[in-house]
């Protein structure tokens, strides 16, 4: 294209400093129900022309009393509420909560159980990242990417369904282990699913990574530098995109993450594009972890062999009186797992960052027995995306109003976890 013909176009645009085009500040409400807001959150942006000058965020529309609900049920019943925190990768939530309670109990689950948990966690992590990238891309108009990635997620959901019978809200983990072993042929299915996911990742890389339109929309928008990010309490892909290699799996290893070989992808600039790239690479790393775990998984029991914690096998429950009594002792009202008084904080790396569970066991009046409690006194979840949304005004200030959408998409706000 001739450069001379391009120059008059420049004059066509007015700069905001020209006095005759001075605009008034405008307040624009995005949300609570907005096509580009996956989840219910209200962003009130103050605009100068198209420039975001200030933003105010209101959350709490999905506050459904996670903690109060947990306090009213037994240790194992509370797992169903953890599912619904981050409903994109529920198993990681289950694992985090159960590990916190196991810390209080002072038990460690056998190696096979740990491998199963790692496998399930990584499957969920891939599903989480696929959903996040898919939704963010769709909001920028890349519908194909959305459809491809949803297809990839279906393969992973099928794996989870094979394991526990549910697709989304899985409740696949119990305090003290898993309710069941991996089904027959699961690892072979996993290998096929990984292959499919890798094909999809390759296709989406081809569609997005070097796509001029996508690149221009996301490069340099929603910037959060490392220092600020740490001050805001960022963790997970959003922090790693800023260049800090903090990952709970490496810094405070749990399960079997220290026995497999994988790397932490890090970005440099902390903008939307880096967050996208970090997520894409993390999926690849998760696939590597999955492959290694599937090869190395040992034989043996999948949960602790302690009758005070784990339910007996169904054939024992129905087959002999000891099994039946054991089942009753764990299920009936007023019985169940007894957790010693104390407090524990357990952090796991969720799709979004550090997911911490702070669990307190404290004797409840009338239900106390030997200094143990049958219900959580408090089950607090440290949600990773709460901190991102708190920092959102800082990230979108100075950007155009259209950049709010990719920024909001790339921080991956999950309503259930944000509002609990």
């Amino acid at each position: 294209m001739d450069t001379k013909t391009a120059s008059p176009e420049k004059e066509f645009f007015f700069t905001a400093t020209e006095p005759e085009f001075r605009t008034q500040e405008m307040l624009l409400n995005m949300g609570p129900s907005h096509p580009a807001m996956h989840g219910i959150v209200k962003i009130a942006v103050k605009l100068q022309g198209e420039l975001v000058v200030d933003a105010d965020i209101e959350i709490g529309y999905l506050h459904r009393a996670f903690e109060k609900s947990c306090e009213a049920c037994t240790w194992n019943q509370a797992i169903i509420y953890t599912d619904r925190l981050n409903y994109v990768s529920p198993i990681i939530n289950n694992v985090g909560y159960c590990m916190a309670v196991e810390k209080l109990l002072g038990v460690e689950i056998p190696p096979r159980g740990q491998y199963i948990r790692t496998l399930l966690c990584e499957v969920s992590r891939v599903a989480d990242h696929l959903t996040c990238v898919a939704a963010a891309a769709m909001e920028l108009g890349a519908m194909t990417v959305f459809l491809y990635m949803m297809k990839g997620r279906e393969y992973l959901y099928e794996l989870l369904e094979d394991f526990c019978g549910a697709r989304v809200t899985t409740t696949a983990v119990r305090v003290g282990g898993q309710p069941a072993d991996l089904p027959e042929g699961w690892t072979e299915k996993l290998t096929r699913a990984i292959k499919e996911v890798r094909v999809i990742l390759k296709e989406c890389h081809a569609l997005l990574t070097c796509n001029r339109i996508f690149y221009d929309r996301v490069r340099g928008t929603g910037v959060m530098k490392a220092d600020d990010a740490m001050n805001w309490g960022f963790t997970g892909p959003c922090l790693r995109a800023a260049g800090v290699d903090y990952d709970v799996r490496k810094y405070f290893p749990y399960l079997v993450y220290d026995q497999v070989d994988w790397a932490i992808p890090v970005g440099t600039q902390g903008d939307n594009y880096d967050r996208y790239l970090v997520r894409m690479e993390e999926m690849e790393q998760s696939c590597r972890i999955l492959e290694q775990c599937a090869k190395k998984i040992p034989n043996g029991p999948h949960s602790v062999q302690d009758k005070r914690i784990m339910l007996p096998d169904k054939k024992d429950t129905y087959g002999n009186i000891e099994g039946l009594m054991n089942h009753f002792k764990l299920i009936m009202h007023g019985h169940g797992i007894r957790v010693p008084v104390g407090e524990a904080y357990q952090a796991v790396e969720a799709g979004n960052g550090e997911l911490g569970f702070y669990v307190v066991s404290y004797p409840i009046e009338g239900e106390e027995k030997d200094g143990c409690a049958s219900r959580p006194w408090k089950a607090r979840c440290r949600p990773p995306c709460f901190h991102f949304v708190a920092a959102l005004p800082d990230m979108i200030k100075g950007d155009m109003v259209a950049d709010v959408i990719p920024t909001f998409g790339s921080i991956n706000m999950i309503g259930g976890e944000l509002d609990r």
Binding site: P32, S33, H34, P35, H38, G39, I40, G60, Y61, L62, H63, R64, A65, K68, S69, I80, Y81, D83, R84, Y87, V88, T131, A135, F146, L147, M150, K151, R153, E154, Y157, R167, V168, T169, G415, G416
Partner: protein, 165 residues
Amino acid sequence: MIPSRSPFDPQNPLEGRVITTPFDKVLGWARKYSLFVYPFVTACCGMEYMSVSSAHYDLDRFGAAFPRFSPRQSDVLWVVGTVSHKLAPLVRRVYDQMTDPKWVIAFGACASCGGPYDNYATMQGIDTVLPVDIYIAGCPPRPEAVLDGVVKLQKMIQESKQVWK
């Protein structure tokens, strides 16, 4: 529905080209296959809503996948997920802004009855503030259950009396 075309007969121009049917039925038929939806997605059920509306389960087959994010242009309000007391006035407002005829689908246990959340923050079913036509059970419902719900709604639309003036 339309029989094979017979050769044109000038003496009897309508022969083979016209079918007679009650107006209600044809209007219901048109309405049930062009449902514009307003997805009011709040929580976990949204994951299954995404699955249903993308290629694997393909809600488009039923003519009910086209999302309109303006309530004024939509026919069906999908309340997908938990509705808290803070959110209730907003759902009601979206419903009030929709033009008649309009239908409401309560997607999942929380929207139907509160689901596992029986506490200070959560509304016990959206039918306490707005009329619901179809309840889809499940936490979250499987995509097959959602499709079943859509088919049931279409049947209901077809069979109901059509208001059109």
